[in-house]
Symmetry: C2
Subunit: 280 residues, 2 copies
């Protein structure tokens, strides 16, 4: 065995870095939109990196992908048409398509290289991209949302951090467009960063989404490779309350590692320091 | 401002490192038992480091200290005598003494330098060590437990990782001694590492504790500066079920940032991948 050690260091903030020892670097390239890399970490398996930030890893991706998908999809009584904005790795699509009610899952990903490289190097995550119910829309997700009215039951904003290309996914104008692109009982959900590191963003996003949707709720899951680890998701819903009028089944007909009906309920139980962030 | 950057890097595993940018190093020394450091991190405030592992930080310590303390103390109807094994920083003692029923909280810490340096450099964590109800016992916590029978309502194992001096705190013999040191309706709790990185340890510890205590339960909290971040605690109880026969108050008479009665319940809701670790 060689004594040489190869590491990837993520600069999570100016003051915080996480480093992963690598078995190998599978690919690094400059796409039209960003730096893309797929590396093989010894701790968390293969990892997708965009602009030096960890997007997903084989070993902990299930938390994020299950929680951003199943919470809105099990809240909705009959989700048929689902839009995923971002998420070219296919992880959200994979979870969405576990729901037999879903007839069509549209993936609006701006960077075709993310889709291509995920297919090549992250098959366990991207495998459902070839499902016949999955429709790939390579292009601007914000424009796609604006062009559709009352088209979707669920819209999932699977964005990168709110810097660079994803800034528009955290603006009120986008949430308004999502409202219009959703059917009369549609549900919107977005990943909204960590209460430990991004309290101001969570507060602002919650306010923006709640100015558009009558039912707005925050829920949490723990993702060890994301900065701050405790991760938030914000739901905006027109009719169905993810906590209230939904009667979740005791058991679900799909296999999961993190999500369960009990976890669905528990995820909305916020520690006081998080509750304070979104209290009006 | 100087361009020089000072960083502390924790080797969380052979394949995973977390680095914290420092404002300054407050103290580093070799005690009789371990390397001790207190540094000022820019992200998480002051940090206590023992043998190069992060013990606690000012900004996220509340999660660990509240959750290891209030879950057993609010489960017990009238906790009066509490023993904390380890935890010389005083964070657990601070939370324990928020309970007005507690008449005596004994801290069994083997390394007096941890107590001394925490008092000097981490006053927000250590401040309750001067409470008249707090009794400092500098010495071997395992021996202290063995020497006492039916003495405590609650025993809290606030240990370091199960390497070096803390190995004995993860052995069945210790759990048996705790059983004997507890009163007839006593409750034991231990920190038991992360399901993402230490699944085998969680499984083993759960088995060991459940071979001694009739009621054994695992619960979770998220601590961003601990490896794996999703952190587990294992309770062994003689009579009171932290989930079952305890009727938690709707509101609690103490101020908290993470714990609440609702979080108490939610923390026992395990994601399926964690549930599988402890299923018999």
């Amino acid at each position: 065995m060689s004594a040489m050690e190869l590491w990837f260091t993520e600069k999570q903030t100016d003051n915080l870095r996480m480093s992963y020892r690598l078995g190998s670097t599978l690919i690094t390239e400059r796409t039209e939109y960003q730096e893309l890399a797929v590396v093989d970490t010894l701790q968390y398996g293969r990892m997708l990196i965009l602009d030096d930030f960890v997007m997903t890893t084989e070993k902990d991706e299930f938390v994020y992908h299950e929680m951003i998908s199943h919470v809105p999809l099990f809240t909705h009584p009959n989700p048929k048409e689902v839009l995923v904005v971002g998420g070219g790795d296919g992880g959200v699509i994979r979870e969405v398509l576990k729901h037999s009610s879903v007839e069509r899952a549209v993936l609006a990903e701006i960077d075709p290289k993310v889709i291509q490289r995920s297919r090549e190097w992250l098959p366990s995550i991207s495998k459902a991209l070839d499902d016949e119910r999955c429709e790939l829309m390579v292009g601007d997700g914000i424009a796609h949302v604006k062009e559709h009215k009352k088209a979707y039951d669920i819209i999932i904003s699977d964005s990168t951090d709110p810097i660079g290309p994803a800034v528009g996914l955290f603006e009120e104008d986008f949430y308004l467009s999502c409202w219009e692109a959703l059917k009369d009982d549609g549900i919107f959900v977005a990943q909204t960063e960590s209460p430990f590191l991004h309290g101001d963003l969570i507060r602002q996003t919650f306010q923006r989404i709640s100015s558009v949707f009558p039912i707005t709720r925050l829920y949490l899951a723990t993702i060890p490779t994301y900065p701050g680890s405790l991760w938030s998701f914000t739901i905006g819903s027109k009719v169905h309350d993810p906590l209230g009028d939904t009667r979740l089944p005791m058991a679900i007909p799909i296999e999961t590692k993190y999500y369960s009906p009990a976890i669905h309920q528990a995820a909305f139980t916020l520690p006081p320091f998080v509750e304070r962030l979104i209290r009006k």
